[in-house]
C-alpha cells in the first residue's frame, strides 16, 4: 500500500512548486483541485453504484454556506469556511440520505437531479442572495493572518491542494477498508451483502454522506478561490460535468479524479483560448476519444494491469 506516501510526495511537490507556477495556473489548479475533490466524492459513490446527477446540490450548498458565512456572519477564515461548507453539506447529505439510498441507478440519478434543480430554483428566486448574479466573497484570511490578494491565492491553492490530496489519502484508506470494499460488493450484488449480515442501506448512506461532504468542501473552496458564487454552481450541467470527469478519470484509484480534473480544466482553458467558437466541440471529441480508447478511464494509462477488486 504505497499510495499514501506517493500522494504525500505529490502534495509536497505541489506545495513546493507553488512559488514557481504562474498565477493564472495557480488559480486554475486551485479550481481543479477543488472540483477534483468533488469528483473524488462522485467516484466513491460510483464504486458503490450510486451515480448522482445532482452532486451540484452539495457543491452549491457548500459554496453558499461559505459565501453566507463570509458575507453575513463575518467568518473570513478560509479553513473555517471550508469546514462550514463541508459541515453543512454533510448534514444535508445525512438527512437526505435516508431517502436517497432507497433508490438505485437511473432513479437515484434523476431524483438527485431533481433535488439539485429545486435548490437552483430557490437560489434564483432569492433576490437577497443576488439571484442569478450571485454575490462576491471578501478575500479570505488564514488563522487571523490577512494576506495580500496574490499571496492569498497561493495560500488558497495550498489549502485546496492539501484538502484534495488529504482527502484522497483518507478515501484511499476508506476504499481499502471493510466498508469500502463492501460498498464495491454492493455495486454488483446487494442481496448477497444483506445475506452476509451487513446493512446495504447503512453502507450506502455512509458513502452518500462522504460524497456530499467532499462536494461541500469542494464548493466552499471554489467559492473562496473564485471570490464569487451564483446558482450555476447548483445547475444540472455542473453535476453532469462532475460525473463526466469522474468517468473519464476512471474509478480505479483515488488519484485519478484529481488528475482527471486538472487535465480537463487545462484542456477546456486552452480550447476556449485557441478555438473560441468551437471549444465545446473540441471537448466533445476529446470525451468520445477517451471513452472509445480508454474504457477504464484515464487512469488505465497509468495502472499496469486492469484492477482486480480493490487492489489498484
Amino acid at each position: 500500500m504505497r499510495t499514501v506516501p506517493a500522494l504525500a510526495i505529490a502534495l509536497v511537490v505541489l506545495l513546493g512548486a507553488a512559488p514557481l507556477i504562474p498565477l493564472w495556473l495557480v488559480f486554475l489548479l486551485t479550481v481543479a483541485f477543488a472540483r477534483g475533490l468533488v469528483v473524488l466524492g462522485v467516484v466513491i459513490m460510483m464504486r458503490a453504484g450510486l451515480v448522482s446527477f445532482g452532486q451540484s446540490l452539495y457543491y452549491g450548498l457548500g459554496a453558499y454556506a461559505a459565501g453566507l458565512g463570509a458575507n453575513f456572519y463575518g467568518v473570513t477564515d478560509a479553513i473555517l469556511l471550508v469546514l462550514l461548507g463541508g459541515g453543512v453539506s454533510a448534514l444535508a447529505g445525512f438527512a437526505l440520505g435516508f431517502v436517497m439510498v432507497r433508490y438505485r441507478e437511473i432513479f437515484f440519478a434523476m431524483l438527485s437531479l431533481a433535488l439539485a434543480m429545486i435548490l437552483y430554483g430557490i437560489l434564483v428566486r432569492s433576490a437577497a442572495l443576488g439571484s442569478t448574479d450571485g454575490f462576491n466573497l471578501p478575500p479570505a484570511t488564514f488563522l487571523g493572518f490577512v494576506p495580500d490578494p496574490q499571496l492569498g491565492h497561493v495560500l488558497v491553492y495550498g489549502l485546496a491542494a492539501t484538502m484534495a490530496i488529504g482527502s484522497a489519502m483518507l478515501l484511499h484508506r476508506f476504499i481499502h477498508s471493510p466498508a469500502g470494499v463492501i460498498s464495491e460488493a454492493i455495486l454488483t450484488n446487494e442481496i448477497r451483502v444483506e445475506y452476509l449480515g451487513t446493512s446495504v442501506i447503512r453502507i450506502l448512506h455512509l458513502v452518500y454522506v462522504i460524497g456530499a461532504t467532499a462536494a461541500g468542501v469542494g464548493g466552499a473552496l471554489v467559492a473562496i478561490a473564485a471570490g464569487h458564487i451564483d446558482p450555476d454552481l447548483a445547475y444540472w450541467t455542473t453535476s453532469g460535468e462532475l460525473v463526466f470527469v469522474a468517468i473519464l478519470s476512471g474509478t480505479g484509484h483515488v488519484a485519478a479524479p484529481l488528475l482527471g480534473t486538472v487535465l480537463f480544466e487545462l484542456v477546456r482553458s486552452f480550447a476556449v483560448q485557441y478555438s473560441p467558437y468551437t471549444w465545446q466541440m473540441v471537448i466533445g471529441f476529446a470525451m468520445l476519444a477517451l471513452i472509445l480508447f480508454l474504457p477504464a478511464g484515464l487512469w488505465s494509462l497509468f495502472s499496469r494491469k486492469p484492477r482486480t477488486g480493490g487492489t489498484a
Binding site: 504505497r2 505529490a10 486554475l28 448574479d133 484509484h253 471549444w279
Partner: protein, 436 residues
C-alpha cells in the same frame, strides 16, 4: 500494490508535464511593444450570442480595423491607440462565472493583454469586478446592466462605459405615463433571473412613485430561455392590464412577440420592451405597431445623426448586411473611451502608457460616440451615464423598414441617480435631483 505506486508517480509526472505544456505557450506569447493587446469577452455561443455577443464582436472587429487603419472620423482619426496597433484576443463569455474568472485571469496573466473589454452578463461583471483591481488590469464593462457594481464599492482599474439598467425602466415609466396619464393596471413578464427581477422591480417602483393608483395585476417570471409562453400569456390575457412591461431579450422577446401576437396580447394595451431594439429589424413585420421599444440608451435608431454614427451605420451595414444594434454601439463606446483615456495618459509621447496612467486618465472623461455624448459621472467617474430614449414601433410598408415614431429623449440626469445614491433609494425617494 507496487503497480499503484508506479501509477501514482507516473500520474504526478503526467500532471507536471501537462503543467509545463501549459506554461510553454505563455513564454512564446511574449508581449510585443508595438501593439496594444486588447482582450474582448462576449457571448459567442448560447442564446445571448445572436442578439448581443456577435453584434458586439462584429462592431469591435470593425472599429478596431478602422482604428488600426486610421479610418475613423475625428476626433478618433489617428492610428490605433496612441499609434499602437490594436491586437484583439476574443474569448467566449459562455460557461458560468467560475470559468469566466479563470479565463479573465488567463487573459491578464497568461496572455498579458493590456486591457479587457467585455461582459454582457451581470453575474460575470460582479465576479470579475474585484479581480480588476486585484490584478491591476484595466477592465471596461460595456454592456452588463446591474447597478450593484459601483454602488457597492469603488474601483481603480474598472470602468463601465455603458449606463446601468435603472434608467431603462425609469424612462420607460415616464414615457408610457406621458403617452397615457390615466393608466389603471400594469403587468410584467420578465425572465426569472437577476436582470429580469431588477428591471421589473425598478419599473414597478417608478410607477408607484409616478402614479400611485396604478396597480400591479400580475407579475410573470418565466425562466430564462423558456421559449414557450403559453401559460404566461393566458395569465396576462385574463388580467387584461393596460400596460405590459417586459425586459425579455433575444430569442425570448422574439418568441413572446410571435406567440403574444397570435393571441392578441398586444391588442388594446401598450407593451413596453426595454430591450426590444435588437429584435426590431429581424422581426420588422411581426412586432405589432404601437409597441413601445427601447434600446438601453440612445443607440441604433435613436442614435443622433452625427458623423461618427453615419460612418458606423454605413460601415457596419455594408459589412454585415444588417444595421448595428445597441450592443454594437455599446462596445464601440467602450473602445473609443479606452482610446481617449490611453491617449490622454500618453500625453503626446509615442510609447505605450502604463495601465496606472490610463486608469488615472479615464475617470470623468466626457466624449462623443456614435450614440451621442457619454459622461463618466457616477462611481467616482468610473460609471458612465447617458441619455435614454423610447419610441413607438411602426412598420413603414412603403419603405419596407421599421421606424420608431414619437421618440422621446430623456437627458441623462433625468433618468440616472446622482453620484453616491443607490438607484433603488433614488427611485423610492421620488427621483431627488433629477433634472428633466
Amino acid at each position: 500494490m507496487k503497480g499503484s505506486t508506479m501509477a501514482m508517480l507516473r500520474g504526478v509526472g503526467v500532471s507536471i508535464a501537462a503543467v509545463c505544456l501549459a506554461v510553454v505557450p505563455q513564454a512564446t506569447i511574449a508581449q510585443q511593444s508595438g501593439t496594444f493587446k486588447l482582450g474582448v469577452v462576449t457571448f459567442l455561443s448560447g442564446a445571448a450570442a445572436g442578439p448581443f455577443g456577435v453584434p458586439a464582436r462584429n462592431a469591435a472587429e470593425l472599429t478596431i480595423e478602422a482604428l488600426n487603419g486610421g479610418k475613423l472620423p475625428s476626433p478618433y482619426a489617428n492610428k490605433g491607440i496612441n499609434g499602437l496597433t490594436v491586437e484583439m484576443v476574443i474569448i467566449d463569455e459562455a460557461g458560468g462565472t467560475t470559468k469566466q474568472v479563470t479565463e479573465y485571469r488567463n487573459l491578464v496573466e497568461r496572455q498579458r493583454v493590456d486591457a479587457v473589454i467585455g461582459y454582457i452578463s451581470s453575474g460575470d461583471c460582479l465576479a470579475i469586478a474585484p479581480l480588476a483591481d486585484e490584478l491591476k488590469a484595466l477592465t471596461i464593462f460595456f454592456d452588463c446592466g446591474t447597478p450593484r457594481i459601483f454602488e457597492d464599492r469603488s474601483y481603480q482599474y474598472l470602468f463601465r462605459t455603458g449606463p446601468h439598467a435603472t434608467m431603462d425602466n425609469v424612462a420607460a415609466a415616464r414615457y408610457i405615463l406621458a403617452r397615457n396619464p390615466n393608466i389603471k393596471t400594469i403587468a410584467g413578464i420578465n425572465q426569472n433571473y437577476a436582470w429580469g427581477q431588477d428591471s421589473w422591480n425598478d419599473f414597478k417602483l417608478s410607477m408607484e412613485v409616478l402614479k400611485g393608483d396604478a396597480k400591479v395585476v400580475t407579475e410573470q417570471f418565466p425562466k430564462l430561455l423558456a421559449g414557450q409562453y403559453g401559460a404566461e400569456i393566458s395569465a396576462l390575457l385574463t388580467q387584461k392590464p393596460d400596460v405590459i412591461h417586459t425586459s425579455l431579450w433575444g430569442g425570448d422577446v422574439e418568441a413572446f412577440t410571435l406567440q403574444g401576437r397570435a393571441r392578441g396580447v398586444f391588442e388594446g394595451r401598450t407593451v413596453v420592451m426595454t430591450a426590444g431594439e435588437p429584435a426590431m429589424f429581424r422581426m420588422a413585420t411581426q412586432i405589432p405597431a404601437g409597441t413601445v421599444i427601447g434600446a438601453r440608451g440612445p443607440h441604433g435608431v435613436f442614435a443622433p445623426d452625427n458623423e461618427l454614427n453615419r460612418w458606423f451605420r454605413a460601415a457596419y451595414s455594408e459589412r454585415y448586411g444588417t444595421p448595428p444594434v445597441y450592443p454594437s454601439y455599446k462596445i464601440v463606446m467602450a473602445i473609443l473611451g479606452l482610446k481617449l483615456a490611453a491617449e490622454k495618459a500618453a500625453a503626446g509621447k509615442p510609447d505605450k502608457p502604463t495601465t496606472e496612467a490610463i486608469a488615472a486618465a479615464f475617470p470623468g472623461i466626457s466624449y462623443d460616440t456614435p450614440s451621442g455624448r457619454i459622461d463618466m459621472k457616477l462611481g467616482k467617474g468610473h460609471q458612465a451615464i447617458q441619455d435614454m430614449a423610447y419610441g413607438v414601433f411602426r412598420f413603414e410598408a412603403a419603405k419596407g423598414e421599421p421606424q420608431l415614431a414619437d421618440a422621446v429623449r430623456y437627458p441623462a440626469e433625468c433618468v440616472n441617480p446622482p453620484e453616491g445614491v443607490k438607484s433603488e433609494d433614488w427611485i423610492k425617494g421620488g427621483f431627488k435631483g433629477a433634472k428633466c
